[in-house]
């Protein structure tokens, strides 16, 4: 009989679920674009169960992670930090990974991995600069969709410097550039480099070793990935499952914990 485990990643801006069969095969996944403190987690869980044609009772083990991980005590059997889950998920997708860069909605994490185990990590301080929230703010000011930033930035022909220190300062700079009628694509490219500067500084604190894998929603932005590759001097690997990486790691840990419980 197959064993189904569920990983739920409740982030600050999105809720993600991954259902695994026998700890190896992704059966279904879901993503709702609102996170902790919203209806997002329940909707994401309902969606993943519906897609797989399963019920909560069919789940051998459910593990929650992410900023809102403690809010699912009635559903989850266990909760773990998203850093451990991102390390687990990235190792599943890229067995030779040594560095994971995860840019989430409100924080940036760089993880050092040795033999599939997280051995060190560093997080940003309490500041939105360099996070997904930073990009949300900039996209709003630029009147573009955040998911279009990557494409638009790639059309840049001229470098425009944007502060990497503070979201508020950077927002003012963007407004100033817009008032000078600077091309939006150039501004966006500057924003991508601003994020890359910030994240690269953090990454160097723990050390950057190949393979470097980028996870989290921001990894879908090719402009940031390219700017970061340039900054770090390392190839950055991403996956189509990048946004689900934390939930995937949670589902993998859920399977491990299920097996451990069975052994007694």
């Amino acid at each position: 009989m197959s064993i189904y485990t569920l990983g739920i990643d409740i982030g600050s801006t999105a809720s993600k679920c991954v259902m695994l069969k026998d700890g190896k095969e992704i059966v279904a996944k879901s993503l709702i674009a609102v996170g902790a403190g919203t209806s997002g987690p329940q909707r994401a869980i309902a969606e993943v169960l519906e897609k797989a044609g399963k019920t909560e009772a069919d789940m051998a083990y459910t593990l929650a992670t992410g900023y809102g991980r403690n809010s699912l005590e009635d559903i989850a059997d266990h909760q773990m930090s998203e850093l451990s889950c991102h390390a687990k998920g990235a190792t599943f997708l890229f067995p030779d990974v040594h560095t994971v860069i995860d840019i989430g909605g409100q924080d940036v994490k760089v993880l050092q991995i040795d033999n599939g185990v997280m051995t060190n990590f560093v997080m940003n301080d309490k500041c939105a600069a360099g996070t997904g929230r930073f990009l949300d703010v900039m996209a709003r000011v630029l009147e573009v969709k955040v998911e279009d930033l990557g494409t638009l930035g790639s059309q840049s022909t001229k470098y425009v410097g944007i502060s990497s220190t503070c979201t508020v300062f950077a927002e003012s700079e963007v407004i100033s550039q817009l008032s000078m009628e600077t091309n939006k694509c150039d501004i966006i490219n500057g924003i991508h480099h601003s994020v890359a500067n910030r994240v690269a500084g953090l990454a160097h604190r723990v050390g950057v070793r190949d393979q470097v894998v980028m996870t989290g929603g921001v990894a879908q932005n090719i402009g940031i990935v390219n700017a970061l590759q340039e900054q770090l001097g390392h190839t950055i690997h991403t996956s189509p499952l990048t946004q689900y990486n934390g939930a995937l790691g949670a589902a993998l840990f859920a399977y491990q914990k299920y097996l451990k419980e069975q052994k007694g």
Binding site: E82, L83, S84, Q106, T119, F121, D125
Partner: protein, 378 residues
């Protein structure tokens, strides 16, 4: 009295220090506010008054103090002034303002100006060169100034015998705290991170003799218990202050015990005793000279990275697996020291995390994630 009753009493005082301040005033006692760091509480005790430590607040936000403070002053200093301005500390009879860091030096003048005509502020400048004879003399001169000012507030002369008796009280107080820290490690199943902090924090608010007596009684109860069969992790804490119960609860939730500390508000404050023999003023000056391994103190052998080695040694001896550094926002000395500490920790293969904190933080979501992940790393 049971261990639990003692712990609850310390927690009550730690949580509501200004209730005990009111109680002292009702009893007709005079109370002197003592700001960080290394102010000689012995002089306050010798004058028959109560020293009350002021280490900011985990409950207040800065409003009034903004009028006086640069934005890069740490919240400990700013919230101390806030409490002086918002009436929380109106019952104090005086204030000792040490000036050992770059924030406290100008801050001492902010306190003086803000409290003009309302509260006597007693300036204390410790010498950078604290060990040579001229440094000892400088410290004694400073302490003599404090003694004179305290005598004016107390309305009595402090004799050498008064001071010797006060030194004995404070030595007893420090010894009890040192013993408690050791026992808290051995019985970390009973003394959680939150409870450990409350016991040590209460020391700054209670009368030193009464605190020592109560803590000795708690220590005696703890000594009767079997050593903990601890299945969780153990860490050493470092930094200026880490006394927020909500933050410390995260350690308890993740089964992380505090094996020892290198924290200014905790162990750094009670490592060194004063001699109970000879000239008591010289004994206090020598006590300050004997302080060591503190980022705030000048180290003529700093090229040897002695302080970081001291912290590494503490981690190894305490049985801890890692270190959590509470980096107080805008604390230049701690920030500048960090690379040296990191170098020694890395060389010894000891994992650590650095958590940015300030006393106005109310949400610890990010810290919770980092601490939980650190437990996984350990």
């Amino acid at each position: 009295m049971s261990t639990e009753v003692f712990l609850n009493e310390f927690a009550e005082i730690s949580e509501h220090p200004y209730r005990i301040l009111s109680q002292y005033k009702k009893e007709g006692k005079k109370v002197i506010g003592v700001l960080p760091y290394y102010a000689p509480a012995e002089l306050v005790v010798a004058a028959g008054m109560v020293p009350m430590g002021i280490w900011g607040s985990n409950k207040k936000t800065i409003a009034h103090a903004k009028e006086y403070c640069a934005t890069f002053y740490c919240t400990i200093a700013q919230l101390a002034l806030e409490m002086l301005l918002d009436g929380t500390l109106d019952q104090l009879d005086g204030l000792i303002t040490p000036t050992i860091c770059d924030t406290l030096r100008p801050m001492s003048q902010n306190f003086r100006v803000a409290m003009e005509g309302k509260l006597p502020c007693i300036f204390l400048a410790h010498p950078q060169q604290r060990k040579p004879a001229f440094g000892l003399q400088f410290t004694m001169d400073q302490y003599q100034h404090i003694k004179t000012e305290l005598e004016k507030i107390a309305g009595k002369t402090i004799t050498d015998d008064d001071l010797r008796a006060a030194i004995k009280v404070m030595n007893k107080n420090r010894a009890a705290r040192r013993a408690f820290v050791q026992l808290a490690n051995e019985h970390c199943d009973v003394i959680s991170a939150v409870k450990r902090s409350a016991v040590l924090r209460a020391a700054w608010f209670m009368e030193p003799a009464a605190y020592a007596e109560k803590l000795e009684a708690l220590n005696a109860e703890l000594a009767k218990l079997p050593a903990a069969d601890w299945k969780g992790k153990k860490i050493v804490t470092s930094g200026i202050i880490c006394d927020n119960p909500k933050l410390l609860q995260i350690f308890d939730d993740n089964k992380i015990a505090i094996a020892a500390d290198d924290v200014a508000q905790e162990s750094r404050a009670f490592r060194v005793d004063a001699s109970e023999e000879g000239d008591p003023m010289m004994a206090l000056a020598q006590q300050f000279a004997d302080q060591d391994y503190d980022i705030l103190l000048y180290d003529e052998h700093s090229e040897q990275n002695r302080r970081a080695d001291f912290v590494v040694d503490k981690i190894k001896k305490s049985g801890a697996q890692g270190l959590v550094l509470f980096m107080q926002q805008f604390c230049d000395p701690e920030e500048m020291e960090y690379p040296y500490l990191k170098k020694a920790l890395d060389a010894a293969g000891i994992p650590h995390i650095k958590l940015g904190v300030d006393q106005q933080m109310r949400d610890f979501g990010q810290a919770s994630t980092a601490i939980q992940a650190f437990a996984d790393v350990l």
